[in-house]
């Protein structure tokens, strides 16, 4: 039982970390709190549901396709719906991202009225045994690929010029302006990239995680939990927070009911918001 919790939680947590990472990047660079982030994940999930891959090759191809679609979508949203709200007082950004999420949720509701759908396992094996726990192929591969992507993103952020620009904007936007960084371009790329990451996570989830439209909200809140708890200063903080969340959720579903677990997580999140936000606002969030 304990092993079950740890293994499942760990694997799930790594996937959550990837999702949180997308939000983390956007928040650090742009100070945007994207309520629709979880729904970007759904682009990947419903996208693959719709495309219905028959083989591993088509699954991977379609996954790439939805990622590209999400990148384009993210760019469009940032450029035309979000950019004008930045650096200005008011709550337009909040309301717009909330509304976007709601619009996406109900769009999916109309197009996919049946809840809790998944796609067939695309991987060439069906399950493995890890420490005596049976893990489905979908879950294992999702976790492995998520981890690989997280490492890749970390590399991009710390070792490339684009990453340097991202870090510069997040540490001091005026500084970035003064060294001649085209920050609107950084904003757009980062937001689009975040959307793409989310969609890939969705593509990884759909073989084993049933999807319903309101799952987007659940994922959004979880992504926020990760950013608030662990990710303020570092990518790997987000990952650790993701793993902790995954395990907490796993433990919760074993010992208490599913919806109660969620409630507990939300309340814990509320607690964290109360204790942490000073650190998020006062200190200009930066990559350590």
């Amino acid at each position: 039982m304990l092993m079950q919790i740890i293994v499942t939680g760990l694997l799930q947590g790594v996937i959550y970390a990837l999702i949180g990472l997308g939000l983390f990047l956007v928040f650090n660079v742009m100070r945007v709190v994207n309520f629709a982030h979880g729904y970007f994940v759904l682009i990947g999930m419903y996208g693959l549901l719709w495309l219905d891959p028959g083989s591993l090759a088509s699954y991977l191809l379609y996954a790439l396709a939805v990622a590209v679609a999400a990148v384009v979508f993210g760019y469009v949203i940032e450029r035309w719906l979000l950019e004008f709200t930045l650096h200005k007082p008011g709550h337009a950004q909040l309301v717009i991202t909330i509304s976007l999420g709601i619009a996406m949720q109900y769009f999916f509701q109309i197009k996919f009225p049946e809840p809790y759908q998944t796609i067939a396992n695309p991987w060439p094996f069906s399950s493995v045994q890890i420490f005596g726990v049976t893990v489905s192929a979908g879950r294992l591969m999702a976790a492995i690929i998520s981890l690989a992507l997280t490492i890749a993103i970390s590399w991009i952020v710390y070792r490339t010029s684009l990453g340097q620009n991202i870090r510069a904007c997040s540490q001091s936007l005026p500084g970035a302006v003064h060294v001649g960084i085209n920050f609107p371009w950084v904003y757009r790329s980062t937001f689009a990239f975040g959307a793409g990451i989310a969609a890939v996570a969705g593509a990884l989830l759909i073989p084993f995680q049933p999807v319903s439209p309101h799952y987007g909200l659940d994922l959004t809140i979880k992504a926020f939990i990760l950013v608030v708890i662990g990710g303020v200063a570092s990518i790997w903080g987000t990952v650790i927070a993701g793993v902790l969340l995954g395990m907490a959720e796993s433990a919760g579903s074993v010992y208490i009911s599913g919806s109660l677990t969620s409630s507990v997580i939300y309340l814990m999140f509320l607690l964290v918001i109360l204790i942490r936000p000073q650190g998020l606002i006062v200190r200009k969030a930066a990559f350590a």
Binding site: S161, Q164, R167, A168, Q171, S172, P174, G175, V177, H178, V179, G180, I181, N182, F183, K284, A286, F287, A288
Partner: protein, 246 residues
Amino acid sequence: MDTALSVEGLRVWRGRSEIVRSVDLTIPGGQVVALLGANGAGKTTLIEGILGQLPMKAEKFELFGDDVRGAKPWEMVRKGLVVVPQERYLFTDMSVEENLEIAAKRAGRHGGHRFSLDELYDLFPRLAERKVQYAGTLSGGERSMLAIARGLALQPRVLVLDEPSLGLAPIIVELIMSTIQRIAASGLPILLVEQNVNQTLAMSDWGYVLESGEISSSDSSDALLGSAAILSGYLAVDVESMEGGS
């Protein structure tokens, strides 16, 4: 010697307020120009307008002969206008070296003065000692130095310095000012904004005095120095106690 920067009828807004109203300003090539004025006169606003950070309008705005009205900040930097801001805006979680590198990477490619990293460490030995230190942990004087060095790493054709000596001890001010003189000696046109009237005029060829968003005096530095009595009235600053840095 061509004109580095020339603007006529410059107006700059902050939000709805027009802070700078109709300013004519010229930075001739190879010269140091001083921009003086009390707090709140609009010096920083003027600079932010020139860089393209704030909404601005101008009848004429040329950088080395190119019309740059409406240019975005990163375009201005590309074209060689580098501003070292009052707040420094360093990348606090990056090392001194990385702060310089990020600027060096974005240097415009034109015949600007080449300030290689070695030359910058030559100019600012204190920074060389702290190459790997995080910018957030530097002292006030070191921050100002890094900000200037970072500006130079962008290979400017015109350098604008907004109060480089602000809040610094006299010894450090001396150091920075003499370094600026060395930079000027290399022929780089400089716009120097300071409240430190005496020293600034001593270092510059021409001076503008900004009052409530308008130029109230524009004359050679020598002439302005001579009228120190008028200046102390305009700027409500005691010229005598200038040595202590403002």
